[in-house]
């Protein structure tokens, strides 16, 4: 009895090696730097959560469906600048709504392009979404002419954005509450609805999904639309936090989102995984960044660390399946 228990503990460690590694690092930091657990720092960490969880949440759906999406860089950038530009003509509510819908539309467009060409392997998807990303980013550049758009310059009120970006409810930032609501909804969507199950099935076995009678193309488009919607929300969260939008503000979000999803334990091969695991990944990656700041590592070393974690996480994820 104890032996099986031991085995299952060992098995858990084996399955979640990266996760455990980061947890150890966090504990070490907490011991080395007592300020790490101070209220000020924890508050700071909660704030840093901002846009990344949304992007990672959307990416989870695409990865569970067995694909990948590099275009969120372009989507986040384009939605951000368009939203700021629309505050004056449409008012803040309208701008917010159009921004989020634009994100969903761009995601849907990705799905449409991919299904039209019949892109099925990760390579094809990777390159086409990269191409889409440069198209979106170019549109953002043309729209802004490389200028930084500021919320403060708009003539109408932009209180929704400032509330999202800097207000707390108790100690919890408003944006985090919004995220948790969406997280629960998305979790239920993935687990309990037929469409959510279809996405999982598509990632598990495309041929089986087709033979069972699911519409593979529309399921694929659905996964990408959700990712676009979430990227739109991420863009709004980013805009609220920094109060400016540029045509390159989405840079690096794609690798960070993939990093969070993989560290959480969702496999890149598709079919398995959950949005709750991604949430765990996001928290750990954010804490990791905070730890490295506390320990005084340079930003460049942090990039090296993130890259290493990404490569090792994918490698170990791959070994699991063997």
């Amino acid at each position: 009895m104890t032996k099986t228990k031991q085995n299952s503990v060992l098995e858990f460690f084996k399955q979640n090696l990266v996760l455990c590694g980061i947890v150890v690092l966090i504990i070490v930091t907490a011991i080395a730097e007592p300020k790490f657990l101070g209220a000020a720092n924890l508050n700071n960490v909660l704030r840093q959560l901002g846009p990344l969880p949304f992007a990672a949440l959307g990416m989870t759906f695409v990865i569970i469906a067995g694909f990948i999406d590099l275009s969120i860089v372009g989507i986040i950038s384009l939605v951000g600048v368009i939203t700021v530009g629309l505050i004056d003509p449409l008012g803040q509510g309208g701008a917010l709504l159009v921004g989020i819908l634009l994100g969903a539309f761009l995601g849907w467009l990705n799905g449409l392009v991919l299904t039209t060409c019949g892109a099925m392997t990760q390579a094809e998807v990777l390159f086409i979404t990269y191409g889409m990303s440069s198209i979106y980013m170019a549109l953002a550049l043309i729209y802004t002419q490389s200028e930084t758009l500021r919320l403060a310059k708009s003539e109408k009120s932009y209180s929704i954005f400032t509330t999202l970006g800097s207000k707390n409810l108790g100690i919890i930032p408003v944006v985090l509450i919004l995220f948790i609501v969406i997280l629960v909804l998305m979790h239920l969507f993935l687990r309990k609805t037929i469409w959510g199950r279809a996405i999982s099935l598509l990632g598990g076995n495309k041929d089986a999904a087709y033979l069972v009678g699911f519409n593979v193309k529309s399921t694929m488009r659905l996964a990408y639309t959700i990712n676009g919607l979430m990227s739109g929300l991420a863009s709004i969260a980013l805009l609220s936090r920094v109060t400016t939008a540029t045509a390159t503000s989405g840079t690096n979000y794609e690798t960070n989102a993939i990093l969070c999803v993989v560290v959480g334990g969702t496999t890149l091969k598709g079919g398995k995984g959950s949005v709750l695991r991604t949430m765990l990944g996001v928290v750990l990656i954010t804490l990791l960044g905070n730890c490295m700041n506390m320990l005084g590592l340079s930003t460049y070393m942090q990039t090296v660390m993130r890259g290493t974690v990404l490569v090792v996480a994918i490698w170990l994820d791959n070994r699991k399946e063997l």
Binding site: C117, A119, A123, L126, M137, I142, T303, R306, W315
Partner: protein, 322 residues
């Protein structure tokens, strides 16, 4: 029926030679514009500007033919240039700088090969992560500042002119072109690469040492990327961590545009050369016509989506026929 067969035949020719068709279309278009497009100076300049990317592409082609892919070349290129400049600035001889830089590329390629070939991970995302890691290392090495080289001899390497006016970079590119062409066409290594890319299992059971050969392909890709990096550093007289940001994606797209497929087993150096040249030609045409940089990014994105999309579409038709 007959008409349909003809359409299929035409489609097949077009999809095989899409890069050549794009070149002809661009050249015809330029006939009607009053620019300096049709001058020897312009064409030599185009060849010189594209030389660095072409050299990277030669190595990547070998990896792609084996059924792999190397997105880390951007980071590798950067690393090679920075290491060479650092060595030369510290008073080491230039040949030693070359050796050290190429060795670093070999090490990166070796690690990529280990992860992709030995551990059987998906090459696309793992090399993307590797590129991010290398970028971080480059930034750490240079503190994200451009590193100017103090040696005139080092600068001369890529800025000389041979045979009364041919830029040395073009000469190096041609030498490497012939070298790689022979490697793939006339050696058993090259033939084995095609066999491995064509069908991994069959190649394995035919007695080809699949793992070492594919592994070597990744090392070659890393080494050529660093070689290109050193030449770029010599051309610019600086090593900087901003070089190679888009190289990985651009080169891999160019290779596919030429007709080397990610499925492996088809294509070659000539195809890759043409594929990369199309991108350069498009940029040159747009520069000549005075199109803004933003619109150029847009056109590049559209080109990538269209050509890789067409590649996928062709394979989809093939699948449906079977």
């Amino acid at each position: 029926m007959n008409a349909k067969a003809n359409v299929n035949k035409v489609w097949k020719v077009i999809s095989k030679q899409k890069a050549v068709i794009a070149i002809i279309a661009l050249m015809v278009m330029m006939l009607f514009s009053d620019t300096t497009f049709y001058t020897a100076y312009n064409w030599l300049d185009m060849l010189r500007s594209t030389a660095v990317l072409e050299i990277v592409a030669f190595g990547v082609t070998v990896a792609v033919i084996c059924g792999g892919c190397d997105l880390s070349v951007g980071g590798t290129l950067c690393l090679g240039g920075i290491l060479a400049v650092m060595m030369v600035n510290n008073g080491y001889p230039i040949w030693l700088a070359f050796v050290v830089a190429l060795l670093s590329g070999a090490v990166v390629g070796f690690i990529n090969g280990f992860l992709v070939v030995h551990q059987k991970t998906e090459p696309f995302i793992i090399t993307l992560g590797m590129g991010m890691l290398l970028k971080g290392i480059c930034q750490q090495l240079t503190d994200a500042h451009p590193l100017t080289c103090t040696s005139l001899d080092f600068m001369q390497i890529a800025n000389k002119k041979f045979f009364g006016g041919i830029p040395s970079l073009v000469v190096y590119m041609l030498i490497l072109f012939i070298l790689f062409f022979c490697l793939l066409r006339f050696t058993s290594f090259g033939r084995n690469c095609y066999a491995i890319g064509g069908n991994y299992e069959v190649a394995k059971y035919s007695g080809i040492k699949v793992v070492p050969i594919k592994w070597t392909a990744f090392v070659i890709s890393g080494v050529t990327a660093t070689l290109a990096g050193v030449l770029l550093a010599s051309r610019m007289n600086t090593g900087s961590s901003v070089y190679g940001d888009t190289t990985g994606m651009l080169v891999n797209c160019g290779v596919v545009i030429g007709g080397t497929s990610f499925a492996g087993g088809v294509g070659g150096i000539v195809e890759s050369f043409i594929g990369l040249f199309v991108i350069q030609l498009l940029t040159n045409c747009m520069n000549q016509l005075g199109i803004s940089g933003y619109a150029q990014t847009l056109c590049e994105g559209i080109l990538i989506v269209l050509i890789i999309g067409a590649d996928c579409f062709g394979r989809k038709l093939k699948r449906e026929r079977v």
